[in-house]
Symmetry: C2
Subunit: 638 residues, 2 copies
């Protein structure tokens, strides 16, 4: 008998000795980090409200109870019983019964009403029907991404359970080594922005954190060196994804092409956004005539292998590693990833990308942990002078620009990233319009903005407290405001909008490197009354940066495919302060107020100057041992 | 056709266009770093004295010319022709003909006379016989190790040629990567003394430098991590061995058990000493009831895969790496290993263990290089106060101790390491006796000392200039002095010596941890008139250290196997200054006078204090970027 089977047998014996004699335990198994307990008496289990919690704390495991398939009520009977329990206001849109595991997936507009106080309604559902409920939110804004991911996971449910069981057995395998050490290897993203990829390793376990591309470059992380995948993709135990931006996620699907077959730990919104962004990444590549490094089936593999975690859940991901994700304030689902290694041996936090202060969209990044000895910190704006306008001033500037443009009869064109910055600007515009600070006018959304917004509204728990409450309690979802109009009529609709009444246009791509913004440039660019407002970082070499710098002759390709030139007469303005990244002050504050202060900080995700200046400042201000690593280095932490 | 075959075909065409039309070229192939040219006209080739040199410089390769087997003179005819060419004084002891390669191995007491001025006699041999000569020195002192190694290599000549051809093709393979980086990974020997093992890697090539054990501990280098052998032993291109001490060499044979099948680059004496010391290491392990990590057949594998290099030879060992070994002054054959990477990209030197000043036995370590950006430096005596008595004072002290002991009628017992320290002391004693500074008396050698001495006399080129000249020209080999007597009569002879006239006894082990010294302790230990003199470092935890610290009750096991106690009455003295390691001053001098000064120094092979204090001193004195790495780290150099 394998060590894991022996362990499961012992656990089953413990559970049997703890539960009342009239409750049977037919099987226990691991599925990912969870322990699944099958019983012929699911209703009795549910009636003993405290039983599961008691077992979980005794076994120090997350526990799910499921009915033995032999005792299942028939779905049509169960459906009635369940609908009787759930209040009508919950807005149930779908019930999906899985007879192999006794689970019923309930999709509802108000999932909170399906759950009930402290899960009381869920327990009622099991008491009445014997089925184990799982709850999903019906997106308030229809999202193709969310529904594709959900349909795909439903269809692949059997294989997914196999994956989870295999991963579960891996997590709970016996520890083999007496050695104690913790190391970080840098595979990219050092003294540069892009191709994030780090390896956290112990004698037992190897964890890959992020695998991104490098925007504006074909450089990829050093995945082929022996300490990464050189020794075989199977030597990686787990992949952790901090957030969905392509410089962190673009090459995650590639890992599966290279033979990786293990779990990806990330938040549920990051999973969906990763699906959206990597598919778009493949699309852009093939439109630009490049060969994408992997096909869309690898994106599906990545989604199938994702084990979503909620902020704050402490999760076993290896015999000697517990992972906890915390809000990073950067984009939807972005996570500071905290690793607890050994039994109190060492703690490492990877910041991913962070925003320290609250924004309209998100709470500021969490920097409070039970313990952290080493912090791996992004340094995008870590340079000596990298201070940004604060949010309030930035909003005032944006409002002024809009009003001035409006008064002279022009339109406002805002290039914006689909994920994060667009939603932030939408919130600013909705509020300003509602409060009368800018005139009421249509706000057109072009490109993937509305789809990204729909994903945001699917996961209000990941948004800033008061925004979440707005969506939950007051039913006043600002993203559903009447002013917002999705451009879904293509070039015709754009032409109409351009000739129509005054309006605001938010369009991708954020750095004017392609996408519908190119078309808007042609429509709005020649109009001296209109204004083009940059609200995000424009990288070196992009058309956005050139326009920002005063270029007014723009190459465009006309319908015949011949190159042509467009003369810009539009007013060009820049409003900074809407960045998703902490500025120099925010990074310093993040470390200063961090609890506890780390002993070591590795400054990454910034150019050479930013990482070195931040590293030096943190050392001199807080007397922390700091490093500005290069790619391909390995640091021994303990 | 493979890239290497294409390359060889091109080279053959070049050679054919360079040599006179009456000289044929039947084949060219690689054997290790050398290019071997087969010809049907070996005599004509030899007559064109400058031809080979010209080809070598044009092709930038080391070239060996061999007769096509089809045109070989018969060995018995060739033997007469060869013996006619070689002067009688050369003292030829063996001729060994290899018909498959047309090589004749000539062993002679005076190999210089077989070679002739600038190789003129060698060329005469080929002109007369058509055979390609290879010359070996007949050991002046018979050495079982040297003759075993030579016999073994003779017997395995065919397989060895296969290995060399395979290695040669590997070295000259096409470069695959456009990337440029150089890294050092520490697998052991950091903040500790022992288990030396470093990995030098580029996008093309991975080179392992040393693989030692840790004396007094069962800790081994971290060979199993992915960046070492985790990705497969075959991912290592080459092993370089700095010197034969077990803390650098003990686990080299183990690499072959793990599947390594590539070359070991080191000096010829290091190869032989490695054979001696690793076989003894296995012997000691089994005597102490431990399971040796490998068998003696792995030692033979290591010897078979060794490609010996001479000091100063610049050798291609990979498409992008050239290796040059330089005298390190530490023990016979010890080498500072210099790596030139890329075409002028970067240079790294590994000091191995060094002695900076000249000793009686060796010239001081070489620290003059065309270029060096990074130095990996031993730090055994790198601590702030690690200054040693200078050699002259040390010799005076030793002479005083001997004279005092002699005057009171006692004997002198010196525990000493077989390799290095013993020969140094032998030279001091021989000179003192010859110059009348100490009385004439027998010097008994016990343990492996004489065998190690015999290996030294086989390679006088590796000894200090004047000692080498003594052995070469004056025929006044000090190691052959009459006073030296090998103890080969076992316990009976020891008893006789103990009861006999006054004498000096040099015996292993150097730290009194076993071997014949244990028996000498019983014979000499109880005699208050005699003196025990420590001339080498006594590690923590060894019996030698305890005696040095004043213990006078020693546990011994008597014949019946029962434990017994021995009371020491012998006078105990310590004379330092005979160390094979540079002291703090020597290490600082090595770096100060180094040409050029390196940009970075990694301080290794010393305890935590020594490496940090040396690192800090080098930084403050010479403004060099210094590091005291931990094990399992990777440094990016470029
Ligand atoms: Zn199903
Ligand atoms: Zn990001
Ligand atoms: Zn990023
Ligand atoms: Zn040594
Ligand atoms: Zn050593």
């Amino acid at each position: 008998m394998s060590a894991v089977d022996q362990q499961l047998e012992d656990i089953q014996a413990t559970i049997e000795s703890e539960v009342p004699p009239d409750i049977s335990v037919t099987e226990v198994k691991y599925e990912g980090p969870e322990l699944v307990v099958y019983t012929r008496d699911p209703k009795k289990f549910a009636r003993n409200g405290d039983l599961i919690r008691r077992l979980a704390s005794q076994l120090r495991k997350r526990i799910t109870v499921r009915p033995d398939p032999a005792v299942l009520t028939r779905p049509d009977t169960a459906r009635e019983q369940i609908m009787d329990v759930i209040p009508d206001d919950a807005g149930v849109t779908d019930l999906d019964f899985h007879e192999d595991t006794g689970e019923v997936v309930i999709e509802a507009s108000k999932p909170g009403m399906v759950i009930g106080r402290h899960g009381s309604t869920l327990r009622d559902i099991t008491q009445e029907s014997g089925w184990t409920p799982e709850v999903l939110r019906t997106p308030p804004l229809e999202s193709a991404t969310v529904s594709n991911v959900r349909n795909f996971l439903k269809q692949e449910r059997d294989e997914r359970r196999d994956i989870l069981e295999r991963v579960g057995r891996q997590i709970h395998r016996e520890e083999m080594s007496d050695d104690e050490w913790v190391r970080i290897t840098t595979l990219g993203c050092c003294r540069e922005v892009g191709r994030a990829a780090f390896l956290l390793s112990t004698p037992e376990t190897r964890i890959l954190i992020d695998t991104g591309d490098k925007p504006g470059s074909d450089e990829v992380p050093y995945l082929q060196v022996p300490e990464a995948l050189g020794a075989g993709a199977a030597t990686i135990d787990a992949v952790v994804l901090t957030h969905a931006h392509l410089d962190h996620s673009a090459l995650i699907p590639l890992l599966f092409k290279y033979g990786y077959d293990g779990p990806i730990y990330t938040t549920e919104p990051t999973r969906d956004l990763m699906g959206l962004l990597t598919l778009d990444y493949l699309d852009v590549a093939s439109k630009e005539g490049r060969t994408p490094p992997y096909g869309s089936e690898m994106v599906r593999e990545a989604i199938k292998h994702t084990i979503p975690l909620e902020y704050g859940d402490v999760t076993d991901i290896a015999p000697d590693v517990k992972l906890t994700l915390h809000n990073a304030g950067h984009i939807l689902g972005s996570a500071v990833s905290h690793f607890h290694i050994g039994d109190g041996l060492y703690n490492v936090a990877f910041s991913g990308d962070i925003h320290y202060d609250d924004t309209r969209l998100f709470n500021g990044a969490v920097n409070d942990f039970p313990r952290v000895e080493t912090l791996v910190l992004e340094s995008t704006y870590g340079g000596r002078n990298d201070y940004q306008t604060d949010q309030e001033d930035a909003e005032k500037q944006l409002i002024d620009v809009i009003n001035e443009t409006y008064e002279r009869g022009g339109k406002i064109l805002i290039p914006a990233f689909a994920v994060g910055r667009s939603q932030e600007i939408m919130l600013v515009l909705e509020k300003a319009m509602r409060e009368g600070k800018i005139p009421e006018m249509p706000v057109h959304l072009d490109g993937m903005i509305l789809e990204a917004t729909a994903i945001h509204t699917t996961y209000p728990e990941y948004l800033r407290d008061d925004l979440r409450d707005q969506i939950f309690h007051e039913d006043a979802n600002p993203f559903l405001a009447d002013a917002f109009n999705q451009i879904d009529g293509g070039e015709d609709e754009r032409m109409d909008v351009a000739e129509d009444e005054q309006s605001i246009i938010l369009s991708t791509s954020g750095m004017v490197t392609g996408g519908p913004i190119m078309s808007w440039l042609e429509h709005i660019g020649p109009d001296p009354k209109s204004t083009m407002v940059f609200v995000g970082y424009q990288a070196q070499g992009t058309l956005g940066r050139r326009i920002q710098n005063g270029w007014d002759e723009i190459p465009i390709s006309n319908d015949g495919g011949r190159a042509d030139r467009l003369t810009l007469k539009v007013d060009v303005e820049t409003v900074d302060g809407f960045s998703g990244h902490a500025d120099r002050q925010g990074l310093m504050d993040f470390v200063e107020t961090m609890n506890p202060r780390p002993e070591k900080v590795l400054c990454v995700h910034g150019d050479e100057r930013s990482t070195q200046e931040l590293s030096s400042a943190l050392y001199h201000e807080y007397n922390i041992r700091t490093f500005a690593p290069k790619n391909l280095e390995t640091f021994r932490l303990i």
